[in-house]
Assembly symmetry: C2
Homo-oligomer: 558 residues x 2
């Protein structure tokens, strides 16, 4: 099997205008970025509003392991396969973050014969959306200190500035800084720090906004600081939102690319899946539903974080009704959940698979609570055995009454995911999609929302909310934010807050260390354990091996 | 007269493919960014190498004043007028910096009927080149601290890291910071700071590189720190250059746009004109010379900084031979140099004009030293009087033996600059362009180079090099950098280092406070006085008034 990059390079891409035509987008509605990427004009997006919406399919996964599950690959393969069996399908993905490309080797555009292309462009600057978000965020940050510098008419309390700075690079040295040093001309010294751009609330706002007007309104609600009376100061107070919206105007138009098999893919937005909701933009998802009869999308991390937030935050805010959910698992990853070390994954081990199955089982049960029909996609790896796949299917059927389907899209492209496509289409076509049953109602108190998620979805005995965090929750409710959904910031590796507890731990206590208000995005973040919002580079960064070869092609990125 | 933005909006732009066709660029060689902007493929740029080069015209100016001179506007108007009189001309400009757009109102794409379009895109994200430069610089910065974090095999002395961080935003709070605070996981605390992206050495390298290979080699020579033995540590030592080149690969392709009158314009790169050389990219200038019979370009600030660096740094490194130099002046600005306050510029004042003429005279004499023929463009403003223009022309003729030509391209477009175009064409066509006579030979010691510039071009009595700076110059020479040209970082408002000394001061002493090695760009920076490498926002930033109107158009940016 050739490598991902070899497959991508060998592909003959269609002009993006041809891809657009297949879903009825005329040339005039496209803003090309080269020959194989285009943004879809705001005007065309608006013109779609009256169209009926297709069926929404969510692809989520078991708790991630170092073995790799292939969620994006499966999303692409499923989209390709649905098109192959004659269902007009649009794939909706998140944009990859630039910084991490230079840390660990590996892009985020699928793999094998289930990739979106051109993969180098998608993984690097793409259409500049994240740069626009970095710029908008940086402008707001500069306006905060500038406001204080010139007299601080809003009375901002410099000790209580919540809005940090951002950069789209893995740079641990910027996590914690003191700034405005060097004397009078540089302002009032204070503590600050940088997050990576995907952790910016501007990113979350970008991905939840319905349109430009909603974007600007949401930006205006972002609380950046408190004044000396402990009242919130927002970006609207700072008059920053008009210019930020101008900076984000082009970026908010969804990006159209293609898969290796020519399926249309909208790749747009990419918020963190811990301190934010981890889904691509609402604008792109809605566009996908109106341009296709099916839209296949994914959510970050495992279903405990990704699917829960997809339902409780994205679907709740945007009024989306998913028709089916695919949970991706692999034999390898389930064996790891069953206690096998990564080095030993090459050997058949049905017993370990059966132990690790508990992780998949809880995710299936959890997703079913939201009311959408579920199917399990078993992403085939070459060392898997027949016995392992048969055992997994039997476990799914016997213990969960859910169908598990082996997929080979990585090796075979769309043909390898045809069975999954038929199953998904059958589930989605069984009837009109119902509104999801959310994990909690809007009116439930914030603390109870956190407890409900932990107890019903994580298997926790209880939550332990630190007193400072509890005080902040009370203040949020007091300020009128009690109806917001909560966004759990928890390790993706475990149902618990201990990343080493694989499988399906129960009876643990979820400690909530801190909470943050994302009033623009429209959720309250509950921080459980240490959450890294600015990654670092490893000892030997991938950057050291990235270069142009003699023919000017990019090497070492993937 | 309608405003700049009204004129730009009323214009009907041609498809960029049609503009490209006029200078022989086939569609396949273009990477479109929307319908009116395209990058020219590296392969096509390489294919031009065998072509003969056209004539190079430099547009420079008197010392800038708050009255405004219109150097970019004149560059655009002259290019349009040359095309109008049948000379195939390509305009080569710098890309505007994003940050300053949000400080003082006003774009950097010309004005009136002499503009490059689409002006909103050019002034905002454009094709993302500056974002790519920010990313490449940020990666290098992260790799420095990451190297130290993981063991510091190169023995970097954290007190001697010269490579600061960058951001394309006016943010005074980041000028001086301490970083890596917060404990073991965040690295070793040290002092640092951010410059604006245009001040990055990566930007200067980008603009002086011949091609991708030269870019990578220059990046590798950037000295980022010293080790404990005071030996230089470079980006090559950190293995950062391959990935940086990958990040800059697309950006290094010149951007093609059009003027309001349909002239082709290459807008590419934009280094600071104080701590860097202030010219657009060598790649774009060379491409302009091979695509047109004439290429008109500009250099930053007044001729004392811009033209001097254009000759002594850009032409020297790239082997360019300018055929003519246009020095832009205005009656208004010369009256300011003659002592008139901005509020009083509306009244005729020939005596003040004559006093202020000294500034123009010195610039003309200076530029002539480089050997290229000179013409003065008097950019007409509506309050100017006939008597003032007549007086200025007579002064130029009688005292300098140089032609001064009134231009009305701002109000009239190309038709208003026809006389200037004829004069420039006559100068350029008079014979083959000779190699410039540089202000100093490569072999002259660095201190003497600084002294020569100050004495022969600034009218200074002497230079006073602080002992620390002198020691650094000696060390640079010792390390083999003595043959580099010098890049003067001085106020643009005066021939002296005192920005309030207008006109043509003499006998002053130029104090050199510090020097810096830009080994990748290939020059030594001499810092005279306070040079700001990270601007701040004003009390009422332009950002507060920037917004989208009801029709989604950008308001308040210009």
């Amino acid at each position: 099997m050739p490598t991902d990059i070899e497959i991508a390079r060998a592909a003959t891409l269609q002009p993006i205008t041809a891809i657009a035509q297949r879903i009825g987008i005329p040339d005039e509605a496209l803003h090309p970025y080269g020959r194989h990427i285009a943004k879809i004009d705001h005007g065309h997006i608006r013109s779609l509003a009256a169209r009926p919406e297709g069926k929404l399919i969510l692809v989520t996964a078991i708790s991630p392991t170092p073995a790799g599950e292939g969620k994006t690959t499966t999303t692409v393969g499923l989209g390709d396969a649905l098109n192959r069996i004659g269902r007009k399908t649009v794939i909706c993905l998140r944009e990859p973050s630039l910084g991490p490309c230079f840390g660990q080797k590996g892009g985020a555009a699928g793999g094998g014969r289930a990739q979106v292309v051109p993969m180098e462009a998608i993984n690097l600057h793409f259409t500049g959306d994240f740069h626009a978000i970095t710029s908008a965020h940086s402008l707001a940050a500069a306006m905060i200190d500038n406001h204080v510098y010139w007299g601080n008419a809003l009375g901002i309390d410099l000790r209580r500035v919540a809005f940090r700075r951002v950069l789209d690079m893995n740079d641990r040295a910027l996590r914690s800084i003191t700034q405005s040093l060097g004397g009078v001309a540089n302002g009032f010294p204070r503590e600050d720090g940088f997050d990576i751009t995907v952790a910016s609330e501007v990113m979350a706002v970008f991905c939840l906004a319905r349109d430009l007007a909603d974007l600007e309104a949401r930006l205006g609600r972002i609380v950046v600081a408190e004044n000396r009376d402990r009242k919130p100061v927002t970006l609207a107070d700072l008059k920053a939102t008009g210019a930020m919206t101008v900076l984000l105007k082009d970026a908010l138009q969804p990006n159209l690319v293609q898969t290796l098999e020519g399926s249309p893919a909208l790749i747009h937005g990419g918020p963190f899946a811990n301190i934010a909701h981890g889904c691509n933009s609402v604008i792109a998802t809605r566009a996908g539903l109106r341009l296709g009869d099916y839209a296949v999308t994914e959510a970050g991390f495992g279903a405990d974080l990704g699917a829960e937030k997809f339902f409780d935050i994205k679907c709740r805010q945007a009024g989306l009704n998913p028709s089916a959910v695919v949970i991706v698992a692999t034999v390898r990853a389930l064996k790891m959940h069953g206690g096998v070390a990564k080095a030993d994954l090459g050997s058949e081990n049905v017993a370990a698979l059966e132990r690790g199955f508990a992780n998949l089982a809880r995710h299936v049960e959890n997703v079913r609570r939201f009311g959408a029909p579920v199917v399990v996609a078993v992403n085939h790896f070459h060392a898997d055995t027949e016995a392992e796949h048969a055992a997994l299917k039997a476990l799914c059927r016997d213990r969960l009454d859910v169908e598990a389907i082996t997929c080979r899209h990585w090796a075979e492209g769309a043909a390898g995911a045809e069975d999954l496509a038929h199953a998904v289409a059958a589930l989605a076509d069984a009837g009109p999609a119902a509104a999801p049953r959310f994990a909690y109602p809007d009116a439930m108190p914030l603390e109870d929302k956190i407890r409900t998620i932990a107890q019903t979805l994580y298997g926790a005995a209880d939550v332990q909310i630190e007193s400072k965090a509890a005080g902040k929750l009370a203040a949020f409710a007091q300020a009128g934010h009690g109806n917001l959904p909560v966004c759990m910031a928890k390790t993706q590796y475990s149902f618990s807050t201990d990343p080493t507890l694989m499988g399906a731990p129960s009876g643990h206590v979820v400690a909530v260390r801190d909470v943050r208000l994302s009033a623009g995005a429209g959720f309250v973040v509950a921080i459980c354990g240490e959450i890294m919002t600015m990654p670092g580079l490893p000892k030997v960064p991938a950057a050291e091996g990235i270069h142009l070869d003699a023919e000017g092609r990019i090497e070492g990125l993937f």
